[in-house]
């Protein structure tokens, strides 16, 4: 399988704190990868670096062997990288339908169309309905996004990240704060899309049940460094990982 994304000695310091310390990482197409690590390990920073939210102090990022280290966010999205956020990032005052229409118009290169009314863009509307169907928000499409329940807002957040149809999709704690029913819905979605090979997913998650049941590969971060990388079985056996998670041993004893 081909390598989708590759980093070379990626480094980012916040003052004296190393958030990314010479990270060499390869992400393969079609392999569902999870990134785990204790709080402050640099997981979100890594996503920020890879998607263009922040720029590294040094090191390089390649997407399909093309360097993208200095590209701004929107150009990376056009190349096929997108993400969801840990902290809710939707358009709260617009309706659910309008929310997903924004990235869909962008995908169809119609965002600059300033004369034809939204209502007359039938193809875009159809696409939006399809997406809402997929994430299970079609019944709520005319509600203002800000009044949705927390779980529904999370679903919308993921929907917005999926809308640009990225080849590589980073999900930053997609199920945080969801109830079990919603959580299963989201996971089924991710599993299905991953199977259909429409997107390659990279997930940050705290819930170990999810991580171990879903992932093909797990990368463990600690203080900005990769301390373990392998299949769920490898990670379970890894001594260093256990040490890092000391104090959170309950997770590990369950298994």
């Amino acid at each position: 399988m081909s390598i989708l994304l590759r980093t070379e000695k990626l480094k980012k310091y916040f003052g004296l704190v190393s958030a990314a310390d010479h990270i060499d990482l390869e992400i393969e197409e079609g392999v569902l990868t999870s990134i785990i690590g204790p709080n402050g390990a640099g997981k979100t920073t890594l996503i920020n670096l890879l998607t263009g939210n922040i720029f590294p102090d040094s090191g390089k990022v390649f997407f399909k062997e093309e360097e993208i280290t200095d590209l701004p966010i929107h150009e990376r999205v056009k190349k096929g990288i997108c993400r969801s956020f840990q902290i809710m990032n939707i358009f709260p005052k617009l309706t659910v339908f309008e929310n997903v229409l924004i990235p869909i118009f962008a995908l169809m290169n119609k965002s600059l169309n300033f004369y034809k009314l939204i209502d007359d863009h039938l193809d875009a509307k159809q696409k939006a309905e399809h997406l809402l169907n997929e994430i299970g928000l079609i019944d709520k499409k005319n509600l203002t996004a800000g009044i949705l329940s927390h779980g529904d807002q999370r679903l919308l957040e993921i929907g917005l990240a999926m809308a640009p149809e990225p080849e590589l999709l980073f999900l930053d704690e997609p199920t945080a704060g969801m109830n079990p029913v919603e959580r299963i819905k989201v996971l089924e979605n991710i599993r299905k899309l991953s199977k259909e090979k429409r997107s390659t997913f990279v997930i940050i998650e705290h819930d170990m049940d999810i991580v171990f049941s879903l992932s093909d590969r797990i990368v463990v971060l600690h203080r900005g460094q990769i301390i373990a990388d392998g299949t769920p079985e490898d990670i379970k056996k890894n001594e260093e990982v256990k040490k890092v998670y000391l104090g959170e041993e309950i997770f590990w004893q369950k298994r």
Partner: protein
């Protein structure tokens, strides 16, 4: 609701077109001013209400339009050419200065626009050879509307000029209405709500902001270009930041999240001003107090207030 809205709109347009038949010069003069302020404020609200940027420099672009139009009319008496030049001048100035302004948001953006606006003001004040300095440009003719070989309309009667401003304003307002309800308008609303989310939709936020700023400048320039043929003079105060405050005021008054807000605000603005001026020379004090009162009472603007309170009240009965 949609039907009623349509008929109300139709009634308003018919009223506006029949206005010269039953009203004097003064009413037409005031109405032209309301139209000018409406176009000016609508462009401004594309920035504030839809893109989420508060500009304090719009008077600069208004003045660019006014001076450019005046210059053209002084050289070549063609009204349409003057209007078009004014529009382009406003847009061009907004594009060049916007390039520097849209890198920042919130208060930083506001301060940058304020200072660039005041730069245009001092330019109008000091560059005597071109702008006439504090005397301004005088003796600007209200040139006839001429398209060679097609038509030539004398604009000296107030009624004719009123129709000219009315038709162009209505077209401009209609186009802006389409823009707001198009994918581009939706994308701008998205930028207002969450900049980073729009970036992750694959859109260059900075380019879209610049475009929005340029369009607002174009509308300011258009509004400005209506002024010289009406008043026959242009003076530097129209570029002053206090003039930039006018669209801010009327937009807040009418409501920033409604399309018609700036128009309703402009109408109320001129009505209040016109009434107070008759009673006292210290009209600004009263005017300010009334505006503050209205903004506090009509939270979210007059239009929202009318729709949400009065409309739902009438429906309940």
């Amino acid at each position: 609701m949609k039907r009623i809205k349509f008929f109300l709109l139709l009634a308003l347009v018919i009223f506006l077109f029949s206005l010269p038949a039953f009203s004097g010069k003064y009413i037409l003069y005031i109405t032209i001013h309301i139209l000018i302020l409406s176009v000016f404020a609508l462009g401004f609200n594309l920035l504030l209400g839809y893109t989420g940027l508060l500009s304090f420099g719009q008077a600069g672009f208004f003045a660019m339009g006014a001076y450019a139009c005046a210059k053209i009319l002084l050289i070549l008496p063609s009204l349409l050419l003057g209007t078009m030049t004014g529009m382009i001048a406003g847009a061009l100035a907004a594009f060049l200065l916007g390039f520097l302004c849209v890198r920042h948001t919130r208060i930083y953006f506001s301060m940058l626009t304020l200072s660039f606006g005041m730069m245009i003001y001092s330019l109008a004040w000091k560059w005597r050879e071109v702008t006439g300095g504090d005397d301004g440009l005088v003796g600007i003719p209200r040139a006839p509307l001429e398209i060679p070989g097609v038509l030539s309309i004398n604009m000296n009667p107030m009624g004719n000029y009123y129709y000219y401003v009315l038709v162009i304003s209505l077209v401009a307002i209609y186009l802006l209405y389409r823009l707001i309800h198009s994918p581009f308008g939706l994308t701008l609303k998205g930028i207002r709500e969450s900049e980073s989310r729009v970036a992750y939709a694959g859109i260059s936020v900075r380019h879209y902001r610049l475009l929005s700023f340029t369009i607002a400048g174009l509308y300011a320039g258009l509004a400005g270009s209506f002024l010289p043929p009406l008043e026959n003079t242009v003076t530097p105060p129209i570029a002053h930041w206090t003039h930039s405050a006018e669209p801010v005021m009327v937009t807040l008054l009418g409501g920033i999240h409604t399309f018609s807000g700036p128009i309703v605000g402009s109408i109320v603005f001129y009505i209040i001003k016109d009434i107070i001026v008759r009673y006292t020379q210290y009209w600004l004090i009263w005017f300010g107090a009334i505006i503050v009162f209205l903004v506090l009472v009509f939270r979210g603007g007059i239009v929202i207030f009318l729709i949400e309170r009065i409309w739902s009240f009438m429906n309940r009965r």
